[in-house]
Every structure is written in structure tokens, then in C-alpha cells.
């Protein structure tokens, strides 16, 4: 009885203080942490692959006008699985190291991205050109004044 209590006391004493200083000291997640999703709007060419694989339905794609595709992101639904990052051909969508995502403004949980597209001459629907080179050749794909790379 007494011996086991002594042992327990020893375990506690040996451990000392183990709690982290967070939030007074910053907490860095480990590399490879799947945090808040970020989108590099300049790189996105609107293929919609991310919307296709997202299990939680965060990303909604709609072609509202000719030459324009709208990607809406409902971040509140995100489960941080990282499927979007996996399929993005342009590495436009990435999972960051950011984990402090609490907010009290609902607008923070929504993002709207309008991408200029090359529409099909027959049906008028948007389609992503197949290759990077093609995209560069396509007029009107991305407004160069916006500073996009392609």
C-alpha cells in the first residue's frame, strides 16, 4: 500500500511541469501538418478538380457567365483531409500550417473566386485548356493586367 503510493508520488515528481506555454508562447505545428486551406488565386485555372474530390463539399463550382467560372469555398465545412491539395495540377490549393481558425465573422468562412476561362465555341461552356502551353496561347484565359503568371 505504502510502497505503491510512494511510487506514484515519485512518478509525479519526476514528471515535473509538462504543459505547454501556449497561447502565451507560440506553438509551431510539425511539418506536414494539415491546417487551414489556402488558395493561390493567381495559379488556379478553374479545372474544378478540387471540388470533384472534396468529401465535405467545401468547394462549389458554377459557370455563371460565358468565360467565367465561379469557385465558392465554404470553409466551415472543411475537414482538412487534403484531397484538394493532392489533385490540384497547379499546386494552387495548399494546406497551410495555420491552425488558429476561430472567427466570429461568418464572412471569414466563405471565399469566392472568379476565374476567366476559355469557353467552348460550340456549346459556350467553360473548359480548362489541357496544357500549360495551351493556356498561355489562349486569349482571354487570364487577364494579364491582374498579374497572373499564365
Amino acid at each position: 500500500m505504502f510502497l505503491s503510493k510512494l511510487r506514484e508520488a515519485l512518478i509525479c515528481l519526476k514528471a515535473g511541469r509538462v504543459t505547454l506555454g501556449y497561447p502565451f508562447t507560440p506553438h509551431e505545428p510539425k511539418p506536414g501538418f494539415r491546417g487551414k486551406v489556402t488558395v493561390d488565386t493567381d495559379l488556379c485555372f478553374g479545372c474544378g478538380g478540387c471540388a470533384n474530390v472534396c468529401p465535405a463539399g467545401v468547394i462549389v463550382v458554377s459557370d455563371q457567365e460565358p468565360r467565367q467560372r465561379v469557385l465558392e469555398f465554404y470553409w466551415a465545412r472543411c475537414t482538412y483531409c487534403g484531397k484538394c491539395e493532392e489533385v490540384c495540377p497547379e499546386k494552387a490549393i495548399r494546406l497551410s500550417q495555420q491552425f488558429e481558425t476561430a472567427t466570429d465573422t461568418p464572412q471569414d468562412m466563405y471565399m469566392r473566386l472568379e476565374v476567366l476561362m476559355g469557353p467552348c465555341q460550340r456549346c459556350g461552356r467553360c473548359f480548362p485548356p489541357p496544357t500549360v502551353l495551351d493556356r498561355m496561347m489562349k486569349t482571354g484565359f487570364r487577364n494579364s493586367s491582374e498579374g497572373g503568371r499564365a
Binding site: M1, L3, S4, K5, R7, E8, I11, C12, A15, V18, P23, F24, P29, K30, P31, G32, F33, R34, V53, P55, A56, T79, Y80, C81, G82, E86, L95, D104
Partner: protein, 568 residues
């Protein structure tokens, strides 16, 4: 994988044929370890009786499927396992829409009680002769005659809420008083309402109402998500054994579709599963200490547990929902440079775990609170088909890792520990033993892990109409996933049975004639969790001011916000 003895298959086939008395419709063997019998529903109890009492088969779960779009009928499937022979036996009976009844098997297998009530609620096939045919799955205000797992039921239908409904609960025996425990009680993992019938301090019976947390996950999987989206949902079935459920689901689909996950993926799955067992058992040990007011154990085991969580975060990118599994293998490899760190953490955890074990094993407080408390006899453990540590603590030597080897357990087999006493102390000992065994298994798997791809290439679409049964030994016991493949890139039926499902059914037998004070730890010894904190603490990082909001403050804040937004 162990080779299944051809003689066993012949014996089972003969036994079923003899008991079914000409009602056997067909016998198939979709996988080497799965026997699939279609029998007429009138022969079901006799066949089940033969399997359970002569072949020593263990009932796992029932699956009710609305097969009307395919065959025009409903189907009730009972899953059995022949543990020593590594064989699954599936008994299916078609049930015509005109006569929605099937003979209940609960009289033969008491463990089928909830499973039968569940298919009654879900698809509306009535188990005739069921001793306790009350509602189980659906909410109390759910309208009668609306069956959510039927194919023509839309997944997003919301029935109107009803007023003044209450669970159908039994009245206490004459002379006994009622002591309610729950629906929210700090020991319970999920909201569950236990109605204890007491005479003085002694429990003379109990009744229960659970499934407050029913989230319609199976329906979502069958109607909205696709094969490769379900693992992320499966992972969220349980807050502790997430990887177990996603692995189990992926294995079931892989089996149904005939996909072979690469060896490396199987080894990594084994490592993650065992890491999960390590942190789950440490968590449990702490909670068990907490329940009996021995908080030193809680603090220290959780301290030991935390490095394991960090390790999981480093491997997978998140401390709990790993998101690693996908049909055919894994999405994320185990980086080789993490191996030394893994070994180091394991060594540290092992050292500390042994220190804690040596301390608690001799602790008289723990002995006084757990020895002889909540005894589950071997007979009842078998009758109720209990799984996992509660079963092993009652001398039922079953472990899915040995009985139905999956992942890499055929090459790194675990040593399982059993106890005979069946009390809470025995369950403590079984879990502590498993904890140390898991550390050994991770080490062994790490040293034997082969190089190679981590995901199989899936070239063809998954064919419809195939079945796959998969089990995974979760820290709490055996999890079962059953998948019937369908078109539209999603399962036709996906059935999940978590280990607590059979184990909770054993509680009435365990707490009978115990005292009230022993109920929480008895329940805790099955599978505990802690309820959420009542308040919220905020810290201003700049001023370092700490403010604690009370419940009233929070209510006022949320109402104020709703008013500002113009909500009603």
C-alpha cells in the same frame, strides 16, 4: 492469411443444409474466408441454433437491406464468425414486401437483441417473437412507419418534430425505486440514459435508452458519398478509434472488389492501428482512475499519452483524424526519417507505462474499487457476444487480429492476454498487458516494414453486387464493417458495428446486484469518455488577461449575436 480448412467449410455447409430442412436457396463462397448462404426465412432460427450451439459460431451483427430495386424484396443478413476456423458465415433471408416479418433469433442468441431492433427501425422488417421489440435506433419523435434506410427514403428528409414524446421505458419491479443516470453523465462516451432500478444501494435491474447520437452515417455513405469519400466519414465515427473504422471500411471494399493493398500499406496500417491502441489504452487507464477519484493516474497516463499523439500528428498531419486511408492502400507514406524518433518515443512510453503499471498494480485503493466489481461471467460474455478486452477479461480468447488476420498481423501476430475473473480489475490487467504488447508490435512492424508502393492502382470500376466483410480489433473490441457494392461509385449497403454495441448490452448483467457507486466504474471499464466542459476560458494574448465565461455569459453572448444578425 491462414488457410481455411476445407473440412470446416464442408462441415458448415452440411450443418446448414441439415438444419435448413430443404429451405436452403443457395450457397456461395465469395471469398476464401466467407460463406454466403441464402435460406428461406422460416428456417432461420433453426439454422442459427445449429450454428451457435453446435458449431460455436459467434454472432456479429444483422444487416437489413432494402433490395427492392434489385430483387424486389428486402433482405435480412445475419453475420457469424467461426473464430478458431477464421471463417465468416453470412446467412441471408429474403423478406417479401407483402409479409414484412421474419422469425427473431434473439431467443437463440441474446446478443442479437439490439441488432434485430435496429433493422426493424431502419427498414421496417419485424422480428417476430422478439422479447423486447421497442424502438432502438430512431428518435422518440420519429413518426411510425417511416424507415430511413429504405432506398426510396431521401437522405435529407426531416420529419416534423413532435411534442410530448418520451422514450418507452420499463417500469421498475415492485418495491424498487428508479435512479436515472444520464442522458448526460460524465462517464459515458455518448449521451445514454440508464434507468437504474434500486433497492436501497443495490441494483436490481436496469433499462436503457441510447442512440441519442445517431447521425445517419450509413445512409450518407449509401446515398451521397462515393467509395473514396467514405473513409473520411468513417474516420469520424469514433473520436478515438478513427483509423480503425477507416481501415475497416477500406478493407471491406478492397475485399469486395478484389483489390490487394500493397504490403507496405498493410504494415503502415498495422503501425497506426497499434499506435491508436497505445494512446487509447493510456487514455482509458486515466479515465478509469478519474472515475474512482484517483486523479493521479489520469494526469500521469495522459502525460505519457501525449507524445504518442504528437507522433501521430507528425506521421499523418493531424493528431486524431489521420486521413491516411483510401481504398486500395494509403495516401501518405511513413517517412523513413521518423523511424528513430518513433523508436525513441516508444521506448520512453514503455518505460513510463511500466512505471505506472508497477505503481497501480500494488495500489490497494484501486484493488478495493475494482476487484470483484462488475463481474461479467464467461457464460454471459459468450451469450451477449461481447468483444475485445471485456470478453478477454472474462476468459473468452477472441481477438480479430488473430481470428481474422488483416493488415500485417499475419506476419506480426500479437500475443493476447486473457483473464478469468471477469471483474473490472481483470479488464484493467488485460488492457495494461495489451498496451505493452502494442508497443512491441509497433517495434516489430517497424523493423519488418518492406519498401514499395503504398497504394494499389485501381484500374477498373468496382463491380456492383459484391460483398465484403472486414473486422478490425479496436482498443475497445472488434469493429465490423460490411459492404455490399453498388453502382454510382458508392456502396449499396454499408453496415458498421462498433465494439461498444455488443459490449454495452452486457452492462445489465454486469451491474446486477452491485451497488450504485460501482456502476460508473463498471460502465467505465467497458468504454468510457468524458463529457464536455461547462464553461469557456478565453485568454487575451496581448494583455495576458484571463477571463472565464459562465454559462449565463455564454447564453447572453450568443443571444446578443443572434439579435444583431436579425435572427428570430
Amino acid at each position: 492469411m491462414d488457410v481455411i480448412d476445407q473440412r470446416t467449410i464442408t462441415t458448415v455447409k452440411e450443418a446448414v443444409a441439415a438444419r435448413s430442412d430443404g429451405a436452403l436457396l443457395s450457397v456461395t463462397q465469395p471469398h476464401p474466408d466467407t460463406l454466403y448462404f441464402a435460406i428461406d426465412k422460416r428456417a432461420m432460427p433453426a439454422v442459427v441454433d445449429g450454428l451457435v450451439n453446435e458449431m460455436r459460431a459467434r454472432f456479429m451483427i444483422s444487416v437489413g437491406t432494402d433490395k427492392r430495386p434489385v430483387t424486389g424484396e428486402f433482405a435480412i443478413l445475419h453475420l457469424f464468425s467461426l473464430d478458431r476456423e477464421h471463417l465468416y458465415i453470412l446467412l441471408e433471408s429474403p423478406v417479401a414486401e407483402e409479409d414484412l416479418r421474419i422469425a427473431s433469433i434473439t431467443g437463440v442468441v441474446p446478443g442479437a437483441n439490439w441488432a434485430e431492433r435496429e433493422y426493424r427501425d431502419a427498414i421496417g422488417v419485424h422480428p417476430e417473437g422478439h422479447p423486447d421489440p421497442r424502438r432502438l435506433l430512431l428518435a422518440d419523435d420519429w413518426p411510425e412507419g417511416v424507415y430511413p434506410l429504405r432506398r426510396d427514403f431521401p437522405y435529407n428528409y426531416q420529419p416534423p418534430p413532435a411534442e410530448n414524446v418520451r422514450p418507452q421505458l420499463r417500469e421498475p419491479p415492485a418495491g424498487a425505486s428508479v435512479l436515472p443516470m444520464g442522458p448526460f453523465f460524465p462517464v459515458l462516451e455518448e449521451p445514454a440514459y440508464w434507468r437504474l432500478f434500486v433497492e436501497g444501494e443495490t441494483i436490481v435491474g436496469c433499462d436503457t435508452r441510447i442512440f441519442y447520437n445517431h447521425r445517419g452515417i450509413e445512409k450518407l455513405g449509401e446515398s451521397v458519398l462515393t467509395y473514396n469519400e467514405i473513409p473520411y466519414l468513417a474516420e469520424r465515427i469514433c473520436g478515438i478509434c478513427g483509423f480503425i473504422h477507416s481501415t475497416c471500411y477500406c478493407q471491406a471494399v478492397e475485399k469486395a472488389a478484389g483489390i490487394e493493398a500493397p504490403r507496405r500499406a498493410r504494415y503502415i496500417r498495422t503501425i497506426m492501428l497499434e499506435l491508436e491502441r497505445i494512446h487509447s489504452h493510456l487514455l482509458w487507464l486515466g479515465i478509469a482512475g478519474h472515475i474512482i477519484g484517483f486523479d493521479t493516474v489520469l494526469m500521469q497516463t495522459w502525460r505519457i499519452r501525449e507524445p504518442v499523439m504528437w507522433l501521430c500528428e507528425e506521421i499523418s498531419g493531424n493528431r486524431k483524424t489521420y486521413g491516411m486511408n483510401t481504398v486500395g492502400g494509403l495516401r501518405r507514406d511513413l517517412p523513413n526519417q521518423i523511424k528513430p524518433k518513433l523508436m525513441e518515443t516508444l521506448a520512453e512510453v514503455e518505460k513510463e507505462a511500466i512505471a505506472v503499471r508497477d505503481a497501480v498494480v500494488g495500489d490497494t485503493t484501486l484493488h478495493a474499487r475494482t476487484k470483484g466489481v462488475g463481474v461479467l461471467t464467461n457464460e454471459w460474455a459468450k451469450k451477449i457476444c461481447t468483444v475485445g478486452p471485456p470478453a478477454r477479461a472474462s476468459g473468452v480468447a477472441i481477438d480479430a487480429r488473430i481470428d481474422h488476420p488483416y493488415a500485417a498481423y499475419d506476419e506480426v501476430p500479437p500475443q493476447i492476454a486473457t483473464q478469468e475473473a471477469g471483474d473490472t480489475w481483470a479488464r484493467v490487467l488485460v488492457r495494461v498487458g495489451e498496451l505493452l504488447e502494442s508497443i512491441r508490435l509497433v517495434r516489430e512492424a517497424l523493423s519488418a516494414i518492406p519498401e514499395g508502393p503504398i497504394c494499389a492502382e485501381i484500374k477498373e470500376e468496382i463491380p456492383p453486387g459484391k460483398v465484403g466483410v472486414s473486422v478490425v480489433e479496436a482498443p475497445r473490441g472488434e469493429a465490423v464493417h460490411f459492404v455490399l457494392t453498388g453502382g454510382d461509385n458508392r456502396p449499396y449497403r454499408w453496415r458498421v458495428r462498433a465494439p461498444t454495441y455488443p459490449n454495452l448490452q452486457a452492462l445489465p448483467a454486469m451491474i446486477l446486484n452491485e451497488t450504485i457507486a460501482d456502476v460508473p466504474i463498471t460502465l467505465g471499464s467497458l468504454d468510457p469518455c468524458f463529457s464536455c466542459t461547462e464553461r469557456l476560458e478565453t485568454i487575451d494574448r496581448r494583455t495576458k488577461e484571463v477571463r472565464i465565461y459562465s454559462r449565463a455569459d455564454l447564453l447572453e453572448m450568443s443571444r446578443g449575436k443572434a439579435r444583431r444578425r436579425g435572427a428570430p
